[in-house]
Symmetry: C2
């Protein structure tokens, strides 16, 4: 079970190695004793549940005995997502607002009954999957209602695979690792690996229009969703899982990204692929961010894109290497860059997944384009290091918060011709804001 | 200018060769003198224009002098699309309903002014691009309004190319051949070739969510649209041309396929690709439709799909060969099928477009998968024959109507595991209905 105040299981080892902490102290001028606030669970301020007796009884009937919880810990655990403001709020001990109860329907009929009970008793409903939203998607806001529940979707956990069509239908509450395990039995994969992979659910990915680390190859979730079922207050919307339709606007695209605001996503049908026999991740280095971006553009526009393509700028490269410590790969990269007279340099991780011959062919093609555009290959060591730590970001964030250091992530997208402008303007605005 | 009663220019030669007509007469039991009705333009019944003086004056002001037409021919030319019911209606001489006027705004400001004038004077607006709709999309329905105009978008004809991002922004009224000619100057292509290519417009493709003959490779229009501008009665909706966004539902997908019902699509930004140096189309033959479908499934699911992939069933194959007459390719196919003891057989056209080495590599991969699945290659002759006639369907339909023969097209999509059922049920229902 995830820590109530942060990411991951209690037993997870620290993500921040001691040498990296020293380096950060030096770089940020952090006082050695600086600590981020974090209260104990007992000290969390939680308002009394506002759920009336009538509403409570109706929810008990709708969801079944035992599936309506209003104990202190359940409510605190469903009070916030995992964005930076959520973490700061929880660590301070603020569980206000919190849901007045946590309700867990076991199927579509119970879900419909819960929605009707909530409509009748003027109770707001906030769908809750993995609870990893970073945009306030699970904020238990009451609006004009008498009370608010977190609708925990964990029991919507069916998975069906149509191997012939390469389609999988999964309940909204299925977590991605569980989904991948069950897909693996059928020899397929969704290939969707957001940073939140360990806790994110199918419904959450669809509701947040998520992208993952291999989405260059497998496609973003909006490119993978074929069918979806939305339980809305006025009824169900369930566009069928067809490959395409020209019969009017695509209503699936209203549901994808709706963040729980239009109804409860209870199920999705997703494109899957044969499970890859080989996963190969490597590092390459560029003289500059602009050179790296041009190289990736060439790949993308010449049908040579790797499945994983992640380019760091000079600052992120420096930080990544500092956190990694001295390894053969970082030494090789340092030597190479010095030999070329480059200060800084930009690391990129590129990766291919699939059948062995397929990976060999596509890797050769990508590397030819990348090399032509200036990339110097660093081999598989940086790729292995990246793969080991690919889901460590949120753990690292907690460790840094413990030391009083804030970290935050932004995601955006723009056309290639505007990438330079975007990068310079956003980085400039961030630096200016942090200096102020 | 397109024939008012059918497809293409007056000067277009007949699409139905004499030997094919004989064959059809034999096959369908058609009487030698059977003729489809077709009246002269003078004999068309057209109601008087219901546009009031105030509305007319307001539209003149909004669109500019000379851009509001209510002459007989303009109204008849905008009275119907090009579906079978449209053609039968026009050939019978029925131009009722017809638009009360045809208005041609020259840009976004005029378009907005026209919409406001129409709202003020209770005039219904039907956007009109190439006029090739087959689903009643340009039917001049007045609804509860006093009058109805056809909003001819031909003057919205700008084209801008962002070669670095491989994006093109085009006015709704640009016809696809004109678009491709202008894209070719920039070394790129949209690669969108619906059967209606010669007359279809950018706005029409977006409004109808069209797919084209090479959409297996280039993607359907909904996969190519990045940005779109909709002039709606309540204001403009113009989601920017970003590669992706996770900030809520994708409103572009409401506009794509909206058939002019939500507003006027005035512009679209579309993904383009480098113009192909090589286009290679070939024929292959399968023992059965099921074998062919399985072969194409294998291609699609193993990253080996051709850009063009068109499988005919036994009946369509027989008809195609009959219309083509005796050629080296049809003789070769006949010999091969007889040698394998196959009656019938199914022809598929497969094609690849791109740089020379790219086409060679992808063709080899597709053909390996197809052969493994039972395909026998027939070489380039059937591909050339298909390419010559790829936009001839609507001409052929007119010629057949002249002889009293109706033809109609259906499009649909389903998951691979349901394809057999779909095919058998639809074909069975059609045969039963035609026999009745």
């Amino acid at each position: 079970m995830m820590r109530w105040w942060g990411w991951g299981e209690e037993s997870h080892p620290p993500a921040l190695p001691p040498h990296a902490l020293d380096r950060l102290r030096h770089e940020l001028g952090l006082a050695p004793g600086a600590r981020g606030e974090r209260v104990d669970l007992d000290a969390v301020r939680l308002p009394d549940s506002a759920l009336g007796e009538g509403a409570r009884a109706a929810l008990d009937r709708a969801a079944g005995a035992g599936w309506v919880r209003d104990d202190r810990e359940s409510r605190i655990r469903h009070a916030a997502g995992r964005g930076l403001p959520d973490l700061l709020r929880l660590r301070r001990g603020e569980a206000d607002p919190a849901p007045d109860a946590v309700v867990s329907p076991g199927g579509d009929a119970e879900l419909r009954a819960v929605l009707e009970a909530c409509a009748e008793h003027r109770v707001a409903v906030v769908p809750f999957g993995g609870g990893t939203s970073v945009v306030g998607g699970v904020e238990p806001l009451r609006g004009g209602c008498e009370a608010v529940i977190a609708l925990d979707l964990a029991r919507l956990d069916k998975v069906d695979v149509d191997g012939r069509s390469l389609l999988a239908t999964a309940g909204a509450g299925v977590r991605l690792p569980e989904l991948e395990a069950r897909l693996a039995h059928a020899g397929v994969t969704l290939g969707h690996f957001p940073q939140s992979f360990e806790y994110a659910t199918v419904g959450g990915c669809v509701a947040t229009r998520s992208a993952g680390q291999a989405s260059t190859g497998y496609g973003r979730i909006d490119e993978l969703v074929r069918g979806v079922r939305l339980a809305a207050p006025a009824g169900d919307l369930a566009p069928p899982a067809l490959p395409a339709s020209a019969a009017g606007p695509d209503l699936r695209e209203l549901v994808v990204g709706s963040e729980g605001a239009l109804g409860v996503i209870s199920e999705a049908t997703l494109t899957v692929r044969p499970a890859p026999a080989v996963r190969r991740y490597e590092g390459v280095v560029f003289a500059s961010f602009a050179e790296g971006a041009e190289a990736l553009r060439a790949c993308a526009q010449r049908d040579a894109a790797p499945d994983v393509a992640r380019l760091s700028d000079e600052d992120e490269t420096r930080l990544t290497l500092a956190l990694a410590g001295e390894t053969r790969a970082t030494r090789a990269m340092g030597l190479y860059l010095r030999a070329r007279g480059i200060r800084g340099g930009c690391l990129a991780i590129v990766g291919w997944e699939g059948a062995g011959h397929h990976v060999r062919r596509r890797r050769a093609r990508s590397l030819a384009v990348l090399r032509h555009a200036g990339a110097v290959p660093l081999g598989a060591a940086p790729g292995r290091a990246w793969a080991r730590a690919r889901f460590e970001g949120p753990y690292l964030r907690d460790d840094l918060l413990d030391h009083g250091v804030l970290v935050e992530t932004l995601e955006t997208a723009h056309r290639w011709s505007r990438l330079d402008d975007l990068y310079r303007n956003v980085a400039g605005a961030l630096r200016a804001a942090l200096r102020a």
